[in-house]
């Protein structure tokens, strides 16, 4: 026996969660695009589209305050942001490439320094993943070892069924809890046939081989060849589910303000700019090299994981057509 849920009930689930005060985040229409955003009701959920940004911001916000300060005659008053105020969150409709990302990121956010902002949000979030039945020519999850039906990272995983509705697989305790909390929305049914999963075109890459090439090719003309065209924006990093660099700045006034943490990108020219004016990554190829090295070598060296889920967002977003899948393919042939 397998739990299933109809689309109608999936939307009803969102309504019930929202009513209960849970923050429900899912693909939602935002202007002309779709983004993961808090849903006001189940009706807002967009199915069948990959949001333009990944779901990482539910744990790792685009920008958040980490403390506020105020200078008074008595001295400086500092108030930390209290992570206990972070809301309970359910992410609905996360694609496998998005659902898998937090599992990769947990390592870096809980390594030597425990990032309470990330970890607390992570603890409070349940992910309802959704298998993909279609893809485009930028998708390459299969190339990096994931698949359109991979439940990794999801707490509850939905697989679209022929004739509508979704098969529900509780992957974790959080997922089971959700099933248990709203039994009325889920039905036990004979397994209807799952819709065929999407088939990204790329061949599975030998990531170990890629890594070993990277190990020995910090200096290689390939870097310039690929990335001379790079314009140095942060679009790739900002849409990426796995990029996690951030900057910390103080903003506000002289007497009152906030310390804020916001996304940063290694493609930016000033990313490694020192106060002295010296910039160790003083040319775009060095910056692009870092992006690839970080994803397919450094992170692996440190945490044994690849910092890429093959969502293809960076390929779609890159205004100068830099195609990470093509880059990997080229390296894998070296």
């Amino acid at each position: 026996m397998q739990k299933t849920i109809t689309e109608q009930n999936l939307r009803a689930l969102i309504d019930l969660l929202v009513k209960k005060g849970t923050r429900v985040v899912g693909p939602r229409r935002a202007g002309s695009i779709t983004l993961y955003e808090p849903l006001a009701s189940g009706g807002e959920l967009i199915l069948g589209e990959l949001p333009r940004r990944s779901a990482k911001e539910a744990f790792f916000p685009l920008c958040e305050n980490i403390l506020s300060f105020e200078k008074t005659t008595e001295g400086v008053k500092v108030a930390d942001v209290d992570p206990s105020q972070f809301p309970e969150t359910v992410i609905v409709g996360a694609r496998p490439c998005d659902a898998a990302a937090p599992g990769i990121l947990d390592a870096v956010f809980s390594w030597d320094y425990k990032d309470k902002f990330y970890l607390e949000r992570r603890r409070k979030t349940t992910i309802i993943g959704l298998a993909c039945t279609s893809c485009d020519d930028a998708c390459f999850c299969t190339s990096v070892g994931l698949s359109p039906a991979d439940p990794r990272g999801s707490d509850l995983f939905l697989t679209p069924l022929e004739g509508g509705g979704y098969a529900c697989e509780a992957v974790t305790e959080k997922g089971e809890k959700l099933l248990a909390e709203f039994p009325q929305l889920f039905t036990d049914a004979e397994a209807a046939k799952a819709l065929p999963q999407a088939e990204p075109a790329g061949e599975k890459l030998d990531l170990a081989r890629i890594k070993s090439w990277l190990d020995g090719n910090f200096e290689n003309p390939l870097w310039a060849e690929i990335s001379e065209r790079c314009a140095g924006c942060g679009a790739c990093a900002f849409v990426c589910p796995a990029c996690h660099c951030f900057d910390i700045v103080d903003e506000g006034g002289e007497t009152k303000g906030c310390r804020r943490k916001s996304w940063d990108a290694c493609g930016f020219g000033k990313f490694t700019n020192h106060a002295s004016g010296h910039n160790p990554r003083d040319a775009q190829p060095k910056r692009y090299r870092n992006r690839i090295m970080h994803k397919f070598k450094y992170y692996d060296d440190k945490f044994g994981k690849t910092l890429c889920t093959g969502c293809g967002r960076c390929i779609r977003a890159c205004p100068v057509g830099i195609d990470i899948a093509a880059v990997l393919e080229e390296i894998s042939k070296k």
Binding site: E37, A58, L62, E64, N65, V81, D82, Q85, G253
Partner: protein, 167 residues
């Protein structure tokens, strides 16, 4: 000339960016002539309107000004010959931009006030203050300042208080 400004629910904050040679001197003349005008205006002195960057206007609104005045020498009177001519073009363009993003231009005034026009200074400041007062606070930028991306939002009582403080 002197506006009775007691018992208003709302007292606007007016930032005035003025050049030192004409308008600042004009405001001095209003003083030496003991003319009266509402106390809402805060004067920032520049050598020339040519020095006034559109960013200052934007920043003033962001930092809580409800109205902004930019004032300098009449055309042809610029101490630096052409600073006000350059400023005139710059602000002609900038006000169109602000209008296009939805800033009500009634909050932004440009004027020429010479060193001899103490009376005009009073008129301009009084007029702008009263107009902005009747429009109420400049909510747009202040509200925006308090807004966060959904993912970074933490609803705290302090934030609620700040929101309520706008009007």
């Amino acid at each position: 000339m002197h506006a009775a400004h007691k018992n208003h629910d709302f007292e606007p904050k007016i930032a005035a960016f003025v050049c030192t040679w004409c308008t600042y001197a004009g405001a001095d003349l209003a003083g030496t002539s003991r003319m009266q005008y509402p106390p809402n205006v805060r004067v920032l002195k520049f050598p020339c309107t040519g020095r006034i960057d559109p960013v200052f206007i934007l920043r003033a609104f962001q930092k809580g000004a409800d109205g902004v005045l930019v004032s300098g020498c009449h055309p042809g009177d610029c101490h630096y010959m052409a600073g006000n001519f350059h400023a005139r073009r710059r602000f002609a363009a900038f006000r169109q931009l602000l209008d296009f993003v939805g800033v009500d231009l009634n909050r932004l005034q440009f004027s020429w006030v010479s060193a001899a026009e103490g009376g005009k200074w009073v008129e301009v400041v009084t007029g702008l203050t009263e107009r902005v007062r009747s429009m109420g606070p400049m909510r747009e930028f202040k509200e925006l300042e308090l807004e966060e991306q959904w993912s970074g939002k933490v609803d705290t009582p302090e934030l609620q208080e700040a929101y309520e403080a706008i009007s």
